[in-house]
């Protein structure tokens, strides 16, 4: 376990030293600044718009962190062949995967917490400017939604790790991860749309079946999306939170196990 820990600490440090972090931070600060100026355009729901923009800014920044920094952390060892050096140490491949995942996760959590501080400051500022328009706002629900942004990113990191173990190019794993994310955030609406009677044209049964199968294989990111609840201060049931956490935990475990499986069969030369 010590070896895993050591690897994850190294991975985390490498991530924190990455220069792209400043760019992502600047992006997040820009969106939060935009929020302050745009909030006043709305008639009543200033609070809702503020929460929408804050949580979306956190999500976008988190995605950038995963797609660029975390990808780099994962791919670098293989691209630069430093992985040979790592495996000369007494470290199993399973431990390597786990260590990398924990390191990346730790890095994402710490970066996002730093952004959350700015986000809290923004919300407090806008709330101070428009105190009458935050009637439904609740910090606990806002924080819950924020934590579930982290859960989404944790799943995404595991997906990234899985693809890094099967593909030989980091660009390919980026494309695959982005695709899985896009499908994951839209699959629910697509599936319900197909099932609903609203559609104007008949959809072939093959497509329907494919979508259904995909919905079981890929994660449904809507399960971890509480932005709407946070925006309006709607209570989130304990069942949804528990189910969401369980769904994420199981999915991550399966992905990491699969990644280990693929990684063990992979040859480095």
């Amino acid at each position: 376990m010590n070896r895993v820990w050591a690897l994850s600490v190294i991975t985390y440090k490498e991530g924190i030293r990455n220069r792209s972090l400043f760019g992502i931070l600047a992006f997040a600060l820009f969106v939060l600044g935009l929020n302050i100026s745009v909030a006043g355009f709305f008639m009543r729901e200033v609070g809702k718009v503020t929460v929408d923009m804050n949580l979306s800014a956190l999500t976008f920044s988190g995605l950038l962190l995963v797609f660029f920094v975390a990808l780099h952390l994962m791919a670098k060892d293989i691209d630069k062949k430093t992985i040979q050096l790592v495996f000369s140490k007494p470290l199993s491949r399973g431990e390597y995967i786990l260590g990398k995942y924990l390191g990346i996760l730790f890095f994402v959590v710490v970066s996002l917490l730093a952004l959350a501080v700015f986000s809290i400051a923004t919300v407090s500022l806008v709330r101070g400017l428009y105190p009458n328009y935050f009637a439904g706002f609740s910090w606990p629900i806002f924080f819950t939604a924020g934590c579930f942004v982290l859960v989404q990113l944790a799943v995404l990191c595991a997906i990234l790790i899985l693809f890094s173990t099967v593909t030989t190019s980091s660009f390919a794993s980026l494309i695959f991860t982005v695709c899985v994310y896009l499908v994951g955030v839209t699959i629910e609406d697509v599936l319900f749309y197909i099932q609903s009677g609203f559609r104007t044209e008949a959809i072939s049964p093959v497509v329907q079946e494919v979508v259904k199968v995909v919905s079981y294989i890929l994660p449904n990111f809507s399960m971890w999306d509480f932005k709407l609840e946070a925006a309006h201060g709607l209570a989130i049931g304990a069942e949804r939170i528990g189910l969401g956490l369980g769904y994420a935990a199981v999915y991550i475990v399966v992905l990491l196990a699969l990644a280990t499986l693929f990684f063990q069969r992979r040859e480095f030369n």
């Binding site: 709305f42 008639m43 009543r44 729901e45 809702k48 609903s196 559609r199 932005k227």
Partner: protein, 287 residues
Amino acid sequence: MAARKLFVLILIVFVGAGVHVGLSRKVWENRQEVRRTTQTGYVFPSQFARILALGHKGLYADYLFLNTLTFFGERQMYRENLTKEDWDYLVAGLDTVTDLDPYFLDPYVLGASLLTWDIRRFDDANRLLEKGTRHRTWDWRLPYYLGFNHFYFLKDYNKGAEYLMEASRRPQSPSFLPTLAARLSYYGDQARTGILFLMALISQTKDERLRNSLLIRKQALEGAALIEERIERFRKERGRAPGDINELLKEGYIEQLPEEPYGGKWLILPTGRVFSTSKFVAPPKKK
């Protein structure tokens, strides 16, 4: 040679920058004209917009609402009349926004005010408001607007009273709503509904003053309902309406007139409804 090159480069930068500023001004003027004169936009139907939002439905709803608002604002600014297509665009925009985020208050309020006063598209306005009433279950304003539309524009008093009752059951609704709903339902030919509604409210009201005023109103409505019932019996048996209240007394349809708690006298309106000279309003207290 190097100095000349540098000079030329600096010249290009300055001249270029000057031309650019001039051109930008033209570009913005052009865009403004284009936006003003273009036909109405197209809003993605909500089932596609939900997918297009990529998990950021709230943010997309905000953006779309801002677009709709700007569109309407620009037309207002240039005092241009909105065509039917413009209004369709506005309605479609508000529909999609509220499908993306059904708890978003602003589009409901905008729809409720523009679609009724400006263009009198009550069906669209009420459909939006009903959606809002279903989702914002804690908000008394949306059923209140619905009640108002039914009362003021559609003259559907029963429905209006129903919505007002719904509004009055919601938290933080103003204390005048129950009275308003009861009055409305009375005019809307349903004194009995008004009484039931008042009874439900009285049982839930802890404030002593409000409770008393509700009790008085209930007593008045009960009196009116009783007389109306006797008038109905009179009409059935005699084939005509009684001339006045006294005829009911004389003919033995009622032994004694119920007390009018506001101190007025009972009247039979030409419509056959019973009302009072007090108009069910407490007389101002004498100093």
